[in-house]
Amino acid sequence: MYLFLRPRPPTRACSLIGPADVRLPGNVSTPSTMAECSQADGGVASRHHTMDKSITLPPDEIFRNLENAKRFAIDIGGSLTKLAYYSTVQHKVAKVRSFDHSAKEAASDKLYEISVQEEVTARLHFIKFENAYIETCLDFIKDHLVNTDTKVIKATGGGAHKFKELLERKLRLKVDKEDEMTCLIKGCNFVLRNIPHEAFVYAKHADSEFRFQTTQPDIFPYLLVNIGSGVSIVKVESEDKFERIGGSSIGGGTFWGLGALLTKTKRFDELLQLASKGQHTNVDMLVKDIYGGSYGSLGLTGDLIASSFGKSATADKEFSKEDMAKSLLHMISNDIGQLACLYAKLHQLSRVYFGGFFIRGHPVTMHTITYSINFFTKGEVQALFLRHEGYLGAIGAFLKGAEEDNPNQYSWGENYAGSSGLMSISPEMNPMQRARSGTFDMLEMDRLERQLVNLHLLQDPSSYIPDTVDLTEDAPAREYWLDCFEEALDGVVKRAVASQPDMAESVERAEKFRHKYRHKLQTLRHQPFAYGSLTVRSLLDTREHCLNEFNFPDPYSKIKQKENDGALKYYRKAVRCLESLEWEQRQFALVRGVLAGNVFDWGAKAVSDVLESDPEFGFEEAKRQLEERPWLVDSYDQWLQRLKGRPHKCALFFVDNSGVDIILGVMPFVRELLARGTEVVLASNSGPALNDVTNGELQILTERIAAMDPVIQAGLRDDRLTLIPSGSSSPCLDLSRLDKVLAMVVRERHTDLVIIEGMGRAIHTNYYATLSCESLKMAVIKNSWLADRLGGKLFSVVFKYEAPAADADVAV
């Protein structure tokens, strides 16, 4: 079998042949089994199951969480089997709970208690293997399937029919066949809707090979060209309306079958490997071979292929395997591209997605198809590829099976920490070739308990890109941030260990976290596209996901608690101080307060250094550090002018850090808004990320503040101050993926002002986001490299007030 997780010397994998030796990888929920395979020493290697002499199944990585699999869906194609299984995953979450009022004084002087609870979430895993190994894999599944109560397996694909009996016998599950095309389309709709950066354009010679597309609010209509053994061309008009409008028998099976005959190379990936090294011009007859140059009057350049394999029509010449494989690849890709264009033209569709195992993220294939599409449509149609190309059918079959769970009421998100699939690596391949940019890790997908939707206030949802810098395109920035995250890793590990002082094995887990995250960073250095677009946000999120993976649900919980306690004590004084000021002075002081509060950020390296070395670094100190006006970005005058006008109807405030930031910076500002007659919706993270305040924490804090402050109290009582989780657990913010409840409230309240605070939410993301209402972006730049880039210096201030063009006059 050619599927290896990662190349390793064959001696590493011990030869445990036969079912008796295929052992359970162990309970995944216990940390000791979460060992990283590449760390494999002799001891770890003994846990690898070798199913025959070339399949190696490292237990922690593939078939992860199989024990708790609840649903199975299998897509058996002409040559490959794709399996999607849905398991519950138990992991730890940090919860905060207010102390009993009565017992409070006695228990401690802390505001709230932190507890770590077990939570069970749902996760979708993916794996694929060649049909030839289906029995072995089914045996493996059967042996490891312990906690499942499922009785059925959803099956789709052409092979579902052929392997039905085998599936039923091996797994002792009832096979429920689902229509292939229905599954395919369901899967495609699902990934297009749920997975940011699912679709991408491939450009071989551009600065950035992959240009990822943002999730479109309206994904229909589109053409799906699914290239399996053969080709199906499907027009999709809505969730349930689609039609197979055509196809071709020249597809992946032709490449594989004909390629195997021509080159005596058995494996698909090896064939592609050969192709990537070949020169098709030795085998193909080009226009210039016939014309001696171009065919000018038709605008056909000399390098165009006039006749595929046209030069091989001779018995007395030898052709190299590489050249023949390349020629074959060109022939098939061009042909598919041409047919796709003819169908797109006939049905007037401009969005054409390519899926199926033939593509598999192989650059050489994507390049030839892209080239072909460009050529045949003169650039009018763009070839779009999908990161989950091979899994659409399996995902669709899963969704069919999960219909009773109403899968559409959830959103899904990729888990950057986990991938259960085998990397498609041929054993003969040079390990370095693994680094080729075309490989995507097949990440697991977490079911998010809430549905995520667009903020309706986005000016143009279809062109909204949350991230300010695309690190896949910006190489210097990529280098800087990867270094930055790598350097910060020691601190994060230290912090994680410190957060669990009572747990002895936390050091070990933290090391595993360190290894995993460092490995991800290294992967990203070589393959910036491995998980879709690479951004500061994705780097931050990956770190959070990895921490969670190793049961560090909230390393900052205690620090946050301490800071919240401390800041709360100062609240009354701060408010009194502000109230003593004249209106205009007060407005400025409020803004400075938010900005100074925002300096308190453990997420920023420059600050975490200061914070760790000097815990006394205080609010007043922070104010002194702030840049004097004019700030780096300074529209304070316009803001002040605006405040002199009518109050806003409702402000949506995306908050940032806990402690001083939220309590002494944000709350007084909110208080002023409320006093002006503006309703306020405070949106905070649903789950922990760094020292950002979570909704759970904010609820408690706000109650405590309300007890001291009648304005806040009245706001809460009258429902003019509302706290809603944002749906995110990231230090950054994607306005196209907000908790549905938040989005609904924002709409209902006719929100006319959106305030975004902090570097993660207002600079790394959303800096260029255009809203259809007034917006205020406030942040202190706590990173000297970024400050430099923006033309400022450390602690430079961004105060960006914007009003939509039409409203501007009214506002002033």
């Binding site: 002409g78 040559s79 052409g158 092979g159 029919h161 052929k162 095309m181 053994s229 053969g230 055509g246 071709s248 028998s249 020249i250 597809g251 992946g252 099976g253 032709t254 594989w256 079958g257 004909l258 195997a260 005959l261 021509l262 058995k266 193909d284 007859m285 226009v287 071979d289 016939i290 014309y291 001696g292 140059g293 065919y295 038709l298 605008g299 056909l300 165009l304 292929i305 006039a306 006749s307 595929s308 394999f309 046209g310 091989s312 029509a313 001779t314 018995a315 007395d316 052709f319 023949m324 022939m331 061009n334 042909d335 041409q338 047919l339 003819l342 033209k345 006939l346 050529f375 045949f376």
Partner: protein, 441 residues
């Protein structure tokens, strides 16, 4: 060739009324369509008939045609000197048409230089030239009147890689001393122009291949009225036992989709004699069939490859819908016998070892043919054209492909599309080149 291109012939040269004859005219006259010689030629011919050269009997049918006499002198002047050749140098084959005058007068005979005579005799007395040159005797058009002269049109082909030998022969026979201009089309006219000059001292008159092709198709279709019909189709393409070739009268041919399958494939939409565009093309053509067959079976000629294909079984090589679904894929109207994946069975080692060379040749033929059919069908839909004419040397002695195309067109279009074929399948470009010699447009 894999490309789109719109191509419109220059109309200014064709505005002359004589240039655009109707089908009727040309059919009844059995002469050059649109040629300026059309009417004049008869005078000349009668003169020739009055004094036939020994051993050359002019057609009585021709002689009886009553045509007005015109100034024969001017005809002679405008008429190029013999020999009359048209050449199409493709990627794989060189196609040559040669007009052999049969109305040579004694006077002419005497005047005729030895070179010319020897060329004429060499070409007409042989059916094979060297090891690879072949005269397709069955395609010969006899007693054709061309530019006032009556004679036979010969169709000769040889592989493009033997062009040097051809040039050498031209040099040996002192072809250049005849001061004829050699009209040539196809890519080779460009590629080998210098070779013609240096090796044989010949100046090529290069012509666009699609212009020539279309001109040739329309001409041949117009002049052939006796013998087997030039244009034909297959009746009952779905039933092998009842599938028979039937003549088709290609009257009011426009619009038509012209699919030329040579080494590669070009697809043209033809709206009138002078208005056509190249819709697209594909690199999967005759060259691909032969190239792959050579690699897969070790054969070396088209005939061999076809011979093997005729004895093979493609379903052992291809994965059919029923191989995957166990039967029809009803939901999408895919019959079980349809090919789901060409060469799909060859993914399996066991099956690779069990197929024969003949099976592989057959599968290659079926794959290439079906693909051309499916691209053609999409073009026909996009261009809204119902009649498709397939030409090109891929179809030579290739009834398998023709029937397959006929069936595919009919089946997938639910009877909307009709596949038509022409007997002189590969020679139209060369004929067009000859016409250009006789009557420059």
């Amino acid at each position: 060739m894999a490309s789109n291109g719109h191509h419109q012939r220059d109309d200014d040269s064709a505005d002359d009324e004589d240039e655009t004859p109707t089908k009727k005219q040309t059919r009844s006259n059995k002469d050059v369509p649109g040629s300026g010689c059309l009417l004049r030629s008869e005078a000349d011919k009668e003169a020739a008939a009055a004094d036939p050269p020994a051993g050359h009997t002019p057609s009585p049918r021709r002689a009886s045609d009553a045509m007005p006499r015109l100034r024969s002198d001017s005809v002679k002047k405008s008429r190029p000197p013999f020999p009359w050749f048209g050449m199409d140098i493709g990627g794989t084959l060189v196609k040559l048409v040669y007009f052999e005058p049969r109305d040579i007068t004694a006077e002419e005979e005497q005047e005729e230089v030895e070179n010319l005579k020897s060329i004429r005799r060499y070409l007409t007395s042989n059916t094979a030239y060297g090891t690879t040159g072949i005269r397709d005797v069955h395609l010969e058009l006899r007693e054709l009147t061309l530019c006032g002269r009556t004679g036979n049109l010969h169709f000769i082909r040889f592989p493009t890689h033997d062009l040097p030998a051809f040039l050498q022969m031209g040099r040996n026979k002192h072809f250049s001393s005849l001061h004829t201009s050699l009209c040539a089309t196809g890519g080779g006219a460009y590629k080998f122009e210098a070779d013609f000059r240096t090796m044989a001292d010949l100046q090529l008159h290069k012509l666009d291949e699609l212009d020539c092709l279309i001109r040739g198709v329309l001409y041949i279709d117009a002049v052939v009225s006796s013998g087997p019909s030039e244009c034909y189709y297959f009746e009952n393409p779905a039933e092998p036992e009842r599938c028979v070739q039937r003549p088709y009268a290609l009257e009011n041919p426009y619009p038509l989709l012209l699919v030329n399958i040579g080494s590669g494939v070009s697809i043209m939409a033809v709206y009138s004699e002078n208005n056509y565009k190249r819709v697209t093309g594909t690199s999967l053509g005759g060259g691909t069939f032969l190239g792959l067959c050579c690699l897969l079976t070790g054969c070396s000629t088209f005939e061999e490859a076809l011979q093997m294909a005729s004895q093979g079984e493609s379903t052992r090589v291809d994965k059919l819908v029923r191989d995957i679904y166990g039967g029809d894929y009803e939901r999408f109207g895919l019959p079980g016998w349809a090919v789901a994946s060409s060469f799909g069975n060859m993914m399996s080692k066991e099956k690779r070892e069990s197929v024969s060379k003949e099976d592989l040749a057959r599968a290659t033929l079926v794959t290439i043919t079906n693909n051309i059919g499916s691209i053609t069908r999409m073009c026909a839909l996009n261009e809204n054209i119902e009649r498709v004419v397939f030409v090109g040397n891929f179809l030579r002695v290739n009834t398998l492909s023709m029937k397959l195309l006929a069936y595919a067109m009919d089946y997938w279009s639910k009877g909307q599309l009709k596949a038509l074929f022409l007997r002189h399948e590969g020679y139209f470009g060369a004929v067009g080149a000859l016409l250009e010699l006789l009557h420059p447009s």
